[in-house]
Amino acid sequence: MAIIYIDHKAYEVTPGKNVLETCLTLGFNLPYFCWHPAMGSVGACRQCAVKLFKDEEDTKGRIVMSCMEMVKEGMFLSVEDPAAKAFRAQVIEWLMTNHPHDCAVCDEGGACHLQDMTVMTGHTYRRFQYQKRSYKNQYLGPFIHHEMNRCIQCYRCVRFYKDYAGGKDLDVFAAHNHVYFGRAEDGILENEFSGNLAEVCPTGVFTDKTLKAHYTRKWDMTMAPSICQHCSLGCNIIAGERYGELRQITSRFNAEVNGYFICDRGRFGYEFVNSKNRIQQPLIRTKVPDTNDKQNLYQHLKKILSTHKVMGIASPRASLEANFALRQLVGSTNFYHGISETEARLMRSILQTLGSGQVQSPSLKEIEAADAILILGEDLHNSAPMMALAVRQAIRKAPFEAAQQIGIPSWHDAALLGFTQDKKGTLFIAYPTKTKLDELAANTMHRAPDDIARIGYAIANMLNPLSPSPEDIGQDDLKLAKRIAGIIKQAERPLIICGTSLCHEALIKAATNIAVALGTKEKKAGLSFVVPECNSMGLAMMEAPSLMQAAEALKKGEADTLIVLENDLYRGTQKKDIDDLFSYCKELIVLDHLHNETTGKASVLIPVATFAEAEGTMVNNEGRAQRFFQVFDPKNENFRESWRWLDEFKQFKNGVNPEDLAAPGNLITTLVALMPQFKGAETAAPDAGFRINGQKIPREPHRYSGRTAMLANINVSEPKPSEDQNSALSFTMEGYRGMPPAPLTPFFWAPGWNSGQSVNKYQEEVGGALQGGNPGKKLFPEIPVAGKTFLNDIPPAFTPLPGEWLMLPLSHIFGSEELSIYTPGIAERAPRPYLAISKNDAKRLKVLDEEILQLQLQDQIYQLPVLIKEELPDGLAGIPHHIPELTAIAWPANGILTKPK
């Protein structure tokens, strides 16, 4: 620790950091624009000026930019110095000479860093009499709105988009005071992280277009800490509601998971909550719906549940609580996973590896620190976008260590860029087609899944001869495997990434062998798995048989009634299998929030709450249990949490009458008591009884408006605000106003800091962990393991089948996920169906790009336009995974391609 003096007062600080972040950590309100804790300093905006003195006697001092100055022992600084203050006010005044009179119609207003900084420096009246500069805007796609007049030239957007996220199509144009931030021409921003521009931009140049469609100021939203539902990484988000509609998703800082950013699918994929396709009321198909629906439903269900033999189908996208409530209702022997046998096998394999204690499951933060990465069979940009961003950081930051040895600090972005030039960390990717990360990779291997697994086994064998070696592997592959093995062995923090995207178990086993072979007694190697859905891991941990076994049990007559929880079974496997399954049951009870093919078959359909209307716990891909909270109390009383419905059904089964229903107890503690593998999940967030000074944490900011008018059109007498019995958060603006515990932080705000930048005040140290520790609890304990066990399941080398093609499910960030597709912008960005084949195969089939080929896959026939991918190995054919037009396929699959007559 070093002692520095700020305005004649001594402070103990961490040496090596820059003065700006140190001042912010100490609680000084020092304005800044271009510096960002995740992106470092460039000293472009000249806003964070402070005075630096030579020694204690020096009275004159000199003005320096605090973001470019390193903290040194015995430094004498002044933040309050009149000259420094005047300098900062002057800079803002200059910036404001061209800033338009837009705050009233600007979506940033109320959460604007420029507004905050202007107030902070005290600039109030415009003295500049001359005209303002103006620009033309660009169309940037369905997610981001562009309003270039508001720009203050801080360069944060291009630094994030190009340097941090690897985007190619946003840049700075023109010169001097004419600089322009945009694309070369109008068009959709291609990068998967473009939504972060809305948060990175300190003013309103880039704003959220989906928010604009139902605009609400930050102070008017009811917000709650939540977890993204659109992939397995479990990024932390803040969800905001107004007038009974979900309005906005922003990232919620979690140093160990998503950091400051989230991907576009997570940010913009929320509109399914407001979708017209929501199931509005309970439905008993044999009866005419009437006003007394709920009572009818209760009577009907009581009859079914007390007389029939019931079986439950769980869901990888429902919370632990909901799945557990179902398990409690049907009993552990009648509880089945709502996933195909292939997926269940993959998940079991992953769980076995992670639970064995032989490898370490890294967080995204740890992925960012890796120095050599091997990706086996994953296209991260499309299957787990934030992991791709983390990998990009790891590759980009690997040379920074060498820079630190010559005295360039880790925050000095401009100097680091100059130092690293084109040096980067080592990345190897094995995937059948090109991926966006290929540009960073030292070697890419476009091979069939079987061959990728074989290379993986070969690498493991070179790292540890006890690991089995694949037979007759080609010389080239052997050489490559040797090279990869050599590099990852030397790396200090090597990382293997694998996953379920290609539905190939051998890949997971090969990745396991590599990680086990790499690990030493002191340090286990990092192995990260991408899994299909947001709670796939949590569901897998509740060990149960798969859907296929459910069908067998039904056939045997073990049950005659099926309860399907939040799961469209038709998505994951063949249509006839599911039709078959349903034909064996007398009653089909389906709980879901959106209409789909499965709900269409239900004899009893029950609407449930989405993540925004429910509370729950989910386990992400690394095994971290995280709690999400209800954002708002829905207007429709039928939108109740699945676990609440299911708990009531359990009571019916036990003979309780609908009039005497009791509230559900604490499901998560019961879950932990029954299944010790979830130990720790109950501590993911404070429980419902948590209070600070006897008060709850308000979901609404203190300036929430319209309380006495928003419902006055219905009745002028205001109703009592709804109460939250399940959490320590309240649905009102009343409650504890100080710092809430990190897992219960509904929004970031501090006096004078209305924008998201106020997160600085919630961190122990700027850019570091949230006060009181980052939310979430890792469930896989660190168990010491002495011996190494290797798996042996080496597939034979891939040879194209005569007349058949091995089908590949190719993930797409927009389109492959079930819920986000209900956002019109995401549906617009989703790919049209296509059939990717190799150049040779195209020649053999005599087709050109875009020509139609007929694909016979299982019992379906598709007519798909051809997309020739040169890198694709022969005998493989890729189709976009799970897009609405191409569901109901049982993976892995072989298809027959023919030219239609």
Binding site: K132, S134, N149, A174, H176, Y215, T216, S705, G706, S717
Partner: protein, 171 residues
Amino acid sequence: MISLLRTIRLTFLHMFRKRETIPYPEEKVSLHPRWRGRIVLTRDPDMGERCVGCYLCAAACPVDCISLQATEDENGRRYPEFFRINFSRCIFCGYCEEACPTYAIQLIPDFEMGEYNRQDLVYEKEDLLINSQGKYPGYNYYKVAGIDAGIKGKGEGDNEEPPIDIHSLLP
């Protein structure tokens, strides 16, 4: 005794003073132009709605009796989809008028809003919007703002330079 007589005299003299009360409602009260009475939404000189749905009035309101939702027309011009004031809660403090950046919301000299039914004191946009510029004639927010909302193009405002040609390298 003297004081008693003085009181009688004063009371008697008051009979010749000008009356303070008026026979309302036959005779109307004369109010000052800045009287803070009924709230209205005004229009700009082109008769477009002045309110841009910025939510500042709602935020400034100490009794939270203003509620609105902003929306946009095809030109990108913001206006309120609905605008509701619950006058049974309003305290006529005028903070909303002070907060309004576009002179849209104004308090006018009218207090005759009595109702038998409290529900009738909830005013919607149709009840609030008037066909007048109110106290501030001539102001049109979209002419001074930087955005193009169909009122003026980019760089066509009085205080703006023409849009920058980003391909030019001239100083």
